[in-house]
Amino acid sequence: MSLMEILTIVVPSTLLWAAPLIFTALGGIFSERSGVVNIGLEGLMVIGAFSSIVFNLTFVDTFGSATPWIALLVAMAAGALFSMLHAVASITFRADHTVSGVAINLLAVGVCLFLVKQIYGKGETGIIREGFRKIDVPVLKDIPIIGEIFFQNTYWTSFVAIIAAIIGWYVVYKTPFGLRLRSVGEHPMAADTMGINVTKMRYLGVIISGALGGIGGAVYAQSITSNFSHATISGQGFMALAAMIFGKWHPLGALGAGIFFGFAQSISIIGSSLPFLKEIPNVYLLVAPYVLTILALTGFIGRADAPKASGTHYIKGTR
């Protein structure tokens, strides 16, 4: 097997697995940059996966091949709506952010499986007919070598994810909104003094994270699993959390980390068909994202520091 052949298998697969991680990690960045820790990413992905699959199964006859894209929007709305629970608890009710996130995760799985049983009368949904399919990107696919590796047999969602990360970077670092978001997460009292509405910014941060988490779940469900059951999202949200930290709370960092973790995941699945890699026990690839995140946090791979005020409540008038 030549290097070229290996690359044409590995690269599209990496991008496929990376897309949901990138979306969800971006979501995590918006929430944490505003100062709200969001362990609930996993639950938000569950909500996204569930709502997209149900919408897809119900409306596939009406919308045809556009269904997965519309389902993506539905999942975005559902995720945003669900994340409001986290926002209300952790901002207005002053709940511990981590505890509220745990509740969100438990609640999402419970609610979605309950509804699946109620709607379909069994523990999992059927397989969707219209998912995200492999495509060749027009024009770009004809570039020699690069076209063959990056733009053939790939998925639109991977490119949307990369573009979303670039937009995320622009919004967080180059717009007034992003500056306010970051200032609220670093030093809410100073931000408040400058006339920024801390509560509003934090609500927005959490809701954006819900929307992106929902998209992440929908992308995963519609391009990888094709149905919804209790095992559809198992740890993807926490891996996205890891990607966010490994990317040092920066959208482009999260993009890189998402692609790297996507690589580790896809290799652990397709590795057995590749030379060299089949010698490595699967377990190393499976634990790599988590071990690397621990090392990054510890400072062995460049120190990663969370936004200063993340996890704290801002109570007006206290010092």
Partner: protein, 348 residues
């Protein structure tokens, strides 16, 4: 309102709110809540067999709850109970299948193995927290996944030859008892419940009646004050994680040596560790509170299995209620505000 009364009322109100919202969900989706709750009660206490199963379920819940609660009291959030639980389970079963010893040595050895494994798994985040000031929540989450994948690997490739399940542990390492099983119409009740109760007393004694416990609690209240008073904050942080992990590993032994008698390859988490967070929170992180809330959650979990049979309600409803209880306990600030308003009515 006195602080003591409100700290007892808050969890009760949270449970009530959870049940009320659960009822609303059932009404909205066209189920009969009365039938559902009756089925829930019958599924937990309607038959001696079910009661035995409830106690069986309560056992790991108590220990997982103690694990979370112990770390909380020292100001740490051990979300990694699930991972420590898995390595404890694995270690206990590993010792259980590989040796042939008299029961008086074999059983304690297997239990100690689970404690050591859980404690070691929690020692890493404790050390990183003390040495590098890394937030324990993230590290323990990552350690959960490392534990899951590594224990799957060990079961598949080291203990067995590419099988998904280990052999049954030797009879000399089991916690099961014919007598307890025959008492409860052959449920899977085992001796572990005694260990769990002893651990409740142990944690209370350690925290409330020893110097070490006073230090641990001081670090939980205010690290700087504790440091100023000459206590070693780092040492106490590591110690609390190690003890917390020991409880969690022991919870794994309950499943490995008692309930199941073997270890399997897991596709995902068992959920015991996360339910332990719910148990600890509802129990206000005290050992007595953990004991009672473990009974509540154990009864809910076991009773739920009867709901689809008797009332046609999906058992996930109970998961929703548990999640809501956690949500409302977390939001206890707002419950307290309402309680204060209620009692001060007219005074203003």
């Amino acid at each position: 309102m006195s602080k003591r009364l409100s700290s007892i009322l808050t969890p009760i109100i949270a449970v009530l709110l959870g049940v009320i919202v659960g009822t609303i969900i059932m009404l909205a989706s066209g189920y009969d809540p009365v039938a559902a709750y009756t089925a829930l009660w019958n599924g937990a206490f309607g038959d001696i067999y079910y009661t035995g199963e409830v106690i069986r379920q309560v056992t790991p819940y108590i220990l997982a709850g103690l694990a979370v609660a112990f770390a909380f009291r020292v100001g740490l959030f051990n979300i990694g109970v699930e991972g420590q639980f898995l390595v404890g389970w694995l270690a206990a079963v590993w010792v259980g299948v590989s040796f042939d010893l008299p029961r008086i040595i074999h059983l304690p050895l297997a239990i100690i193995a689970s404690i050591v494994a859980g404690a070691l798994w929690a020692f890493i985040p404790g050390l990183l927290k003390a040495r590098f000031r890394v937030h324990e929540v993230i590290i323990t989450i990552m350690m959960n996944y490392v534990a899951l994948h590594i224990s799957n690997y060990i079961i598949k490739n080291v203990i067995t030859d590419h099988k998904d399940k280990t052999d049954m542990i030797k009879d000399s390492a089991t916690l099961r008892s014919e007598w307890l099983q025959s008492l409860t119409d052959y449920s899977r009740l085992h001796w572990g419940i005694l260990i769990a109760i002893v651990c409740c007393i142990l944690m209370w004694f350690l925290l409330e009646r020893t110097t070490r416990g006073f230090e641990l609690r001081s670090v939980g209240f205010n690290q700087h004050a504790a440091h100023y008073a000459g206590m070693s904050v780092n040492k106490n942080i590591i110690l609390s994680m190690v003890i917390s992990g020991a409880f969690a590993g022991l919870a794994g032994a309950m499943e490995g040596l008692g309930t199941f008698g073997y270890a399997t390859v897991n596709g995902g988490f068992t959920g015991v560790g996360f339910d332990g967070i719910a148990v600890a929170l509802l129990g206000a992180n005290t050992s007595l509170g953990v004991f009672f809330s473990a009974i509540l959650f154990g009864a809910l979990k076991v009773g739920a299995l009867n709901m689809p049979l008797e009332a046609g309600v999906p058992n996930e409803l109970v998961d929703i209620i548990i999640a809501l209880i956690v949500f409302f306990v977390a939001s206890s600030y707002i419950i307290r505000v309402f309680l204060d308003r209620f009692t001060k009515k007219g005074v203003k």
